[in-house]
């Protein structure tokens, strides 16, 4: 019963948080607790509905091939018909689950985390809108709907990253996030427009029918361009190289926001988009290769940066970039299932990692540098436990969730391309290492600052519960999903019944354990001196530490090619375009000046001009008359 109701009313899932945004924004903004209550209530209802939907999907015949669709015309003009609606298939159901779960937990967590902040109400408004936008994106029936919510997600990230608007860094980070993703959106929009022009529709299901026919008829050349353009959007949104720069800076927002952005919303939108339009991408091998390599490179690139970062959230951020690269890689090698599997598990453990990090920072008075922490495991046991679970999960240690999903990705990569597999495996090793570094430096060893240490305390229940729930999910979701047959549901094309490839799984696990050990050796046992290693690596260390100077390069490019050009054009506008008019006006004035001496006030010069005029006209008259006479000849 409830399942059907949930399915029929799936549109409520994004709408409820949006409504809560409106209510809070318009009415209850100044009443923090009330606002929080509204937001959490709405999210809870959404969450329940999402469960209902998932149940309905599981119970009913709703599969990837036979989705459930509701549509309503949004606007139409000429031949362009744009709908808003709900498309439910297992992919959607899974995403709804993940998003509602994480956002609900994050909201609960925020009740504690944001306590005392002046913008308490506002924060929940934005969080609600964020969740609503993401959910709207997930249930989109066509590209435009997806783009609409895609942009709204961008807006929310802007608002939330810049939540502490009085901080210049937050303000700039928000702007950067919006701008960078906007660059991606440009490509996406172009792609969408081309799709609309090529097929006359943007509806996923219709396109799914049309694309193969089109390829049969016209080949895939033009579609490749479209698909590449579409992929630019995910590059921006999901923080793929080279548009990854905004993601680490997004740490400027409150930590729950980081959790939300990095785990369940926003960044996975890109992955979701590629997954949703896999009917298109999977037909285009060149594009798939690009996706795979972008993903693979991003994964190892981000990991190599994460190794040297010192700020806890920044490390996590780069790990997110890296993991997203993983997901892209998975998509690129054609394994939708593994990508989304990883998306799900990653959502849980990454959310938890961030929330834990938030707890740590909360306890340490917003200190972010891990090397100024240390020894917190006694003070914050729950957080420590959660963090440990997270690290193990992300490192792919069985039986934690990450093991299963990562293994599937590696297997998929190995089946397609050996270099990609090696890349991915290497990344896995690095991931395990830097995550362990994070964990050990923060919680093990001696406190770096006794004062801060004394100040630290375990977090309250509002924050603790989400951590625990997520920790549980991080442990069980992988295994559970593996057992119930995730691949049966979330798939593209026929389901792949592959068991665990023990060779690959084993090798990656071994590598992960090795990495953990290495980290232990360095950071806990202190067998090797950290600084010495850093010094030895020299240039490489500097490159990694400074994020390969990508930000600086971009800043320089913008300064020269955008601001510089702007100044030049402005100069042109003022001094050339505008001046033409002024020159014309001056010319008119000059003519006036030129003529004015004639009006010298002397009657006789006036008479002179007059008589000159007489004579000129007379001369013309006589000339004319003589011509006339010559012409008429003897007429008279």
């Amino acid at each position: 019963m409830f399942n059907e109701f949930a399915l029929e009313h799936a549109w409520l899932i994004p709408l409820l948080p949006a409504v809560s945004f409106v209510i809070i924004g318009m009415l209850t903004r100044s009443y923090g607790r009330l606002s929080a209550a509204i937001a959490v209530t709405m999210s809870t209802v959404s969450f329940l509905l999402a469960i209902g939907v998932a149940a309905a999907v599981a119970a009913g015949n709703i599969t990837v091939d036979a989705p459930f669709v509701q549509k309503l015309s949004w606007f139409h003009i000429g031949g362009v018909e744009i709908s808003m609606g709900v498309l439910i298939d297992p992919l959607t159901a899974m995403m709804l689950m993940v998003v509602t779960t994480v956002s609900l937990l994050v909201q609960i967590y925020s009740c504690g985390y944001m306590k005392g902040d002046a913008g308490y109400g506002r924060f929940f408004a934005f969080l609600s809108l964020f969740a609503g936008s993401m959910l709207g994106l997930v249930i989109a029936v066509n590209f435009l709907q997806m783009y609409v919510f895609w942009e709204l997600v961008g807006l929310c990230s802007y608002l939330l990253i810049g939540f502490y608007y009085y901080k210049v860094s937050a303000r700039e980070a928000a702007k950067k996030a919006f701008m960078t993703t906007r660059v991606g959106d440009f490509g996406l929009l172009l792609g969408i427009l081309l799709l609309q022009l090529t097929f006359g529709t943007l509806d996923f299901l219709e396109l799914q029918q049309l694309v193969p026919l089109y390829i049969l008829q016209f080949g895939s050349g033009f579609l490749t361009i479209i698909a590449l353009l579409l992929f630019v959007g995910p590059i921006g949104k999901s923080g793929q190289f080279p548009l990854h720069v905004w993601l680490p800076d997004a740490m400027e927002g409150p930590t729950p926001v980081s959790a939300l952005i990095h785990a369940a919303t926003m960044v996975v939108a890109g992955v979701y988009l590629v997954g949703r339009s896999f009917f298109l991408f999977s037909q285009l091998p060149e594009v798939m290769t690009v996706i795979a390599w972008v993903g693979g490179f991003t994964a190892i690139f981000a990991a190599s940066i994460a190794i040297t970062q010192r700020q806890i959230k920044r490390i996590l951020a780069y790990s997110t970039v890296s993991q997203l690269g993983y997901m892209m890689l998975a998509l690129g090698v054609g394994s939708l299932t593994s990508s989304f599997f990883h998306l799900m598990t990653h959502a849980f453990f990454k959310a938890m990692l961030f929330l834990s990090a938030g707890a740590v920072m909360h306890a340490m008075a917003e200190e972010a540098d891990i090397f100024k922490m240390g020894g917190l495991r006694k003070k914050m046991p729950v957080t420590f436990a959660a963090m440990t679970v997270g690290v193990l999960a992300i490192s792919g240690i069985p039986p934690f969730a990450g093991f299963f999903s990562k293994d599937e990705i590696l297997a998929a990569a190995a089946s397609v391309s050996t270099p990609l597999y090696i890349l991915a495996t290497l990344t896995a090793f690095m991931t395990a290492f830097y995550m362990a570094r994070l964990l050990f430096v923060t919680f093990m060893g001696k406190p770096a600052s006794q004062e801060a240490y004394d100040h630290a305390h375990e977090v309250g229940w509002f924050m603790r519960v989400p951590l625990i729930v997520l920790a549980v999910l991080s442990v069980v979701s992988g295994l559970w999903a593996h057992l119930v047959g995730f691949g049966e549901w979330v798939r593209f094309g026929p389901a792949q019944h592959e068991g665990i490839n023990w060779l690959i799984a084993g090798s990656s696990t071994v590598l992960a354990v090795l990495a953990l050990g290495l980290a232990w050796k360095i950071y806990v046992a202190r067998s090797w001196d950290v600084d010495a290693i850093a010094a030895k690596c020299g240039v490489l260390y500097q490159l990694s530490f400074h994020k390969f100077y990508i930000d600086e390069i971009y800043a320089a490019l913008i300064r020269v090619f955008v601001d510089g050009a702007a100044k030049v054009l402005y100069w042109i506008d003022v001094n050339i375009v505008d001046n033409i008019v002024n020159i014309l006006a001056g010319l008119v004035k000059a003519v006036g000046e030129l003529l004015s001496p004639a009006e010298n006030g002397q009657a006789q010069s006036y008479a002179g001009v007059y008589l000159c005029g007489v004579i000129i006209l007379l001369a013309y008259g006589v000339y004319y008359a003589s011509k006339l006479m010559a012409m008429l000849g003897g007429a008279f």
Binding site: E599, G601, Q602, A603, Q604, A607, L611
Partner: protein, 103 residues
């Protein structure tokens, strides 16, 4: 050589031109007025000569000349009165100095 219309017209033209010269070159208002009178007289010669030499049926040329004379007189009268005014105002009747307004 027969004296015809052409001669009179040329005479009138020359007289008119001399009047023009006077108007343009003299400094004194009264002298300028004299130039104007010469010009008006030249026109009258024209009119009367046409009346005499063209196949017309009445004396309208002469009549025109008559009225022109009257108008000329009136203009001179006003002109001289104005010259008085100017002389009264500025103790000069040099046309060149009448240039308060210009530009």
């Amino acid at each position: 050589m027969t004296i015809g219309l052409t001669h009179y017209l040329l005479l009138a033209a020359v007289l008119f031109a001399i009047g023009m010269f006077g108007v343009l070159s003299k400094r004194n208002i009264i002298a300028v007025l004299m130039g104007i009178e010469l010009m008006l007289n030249a026109v009258n010669i024209n009119l009367i000569a046409f009346n005499r030499y063209l196949p017309v049926h009445d004396l309208s040329g002469q009549l025109m000349a008559l009225f022109a004379i009257a108008v000329g007189v009136a203009e001179v009268a006003v002109g001289i009165a104005l010259a008085f005014r100017i002389y009264h105002d500025r103790s000069t009747i040099n046309v060149d100095e009448l240039n308060r307004m210009k530009g």
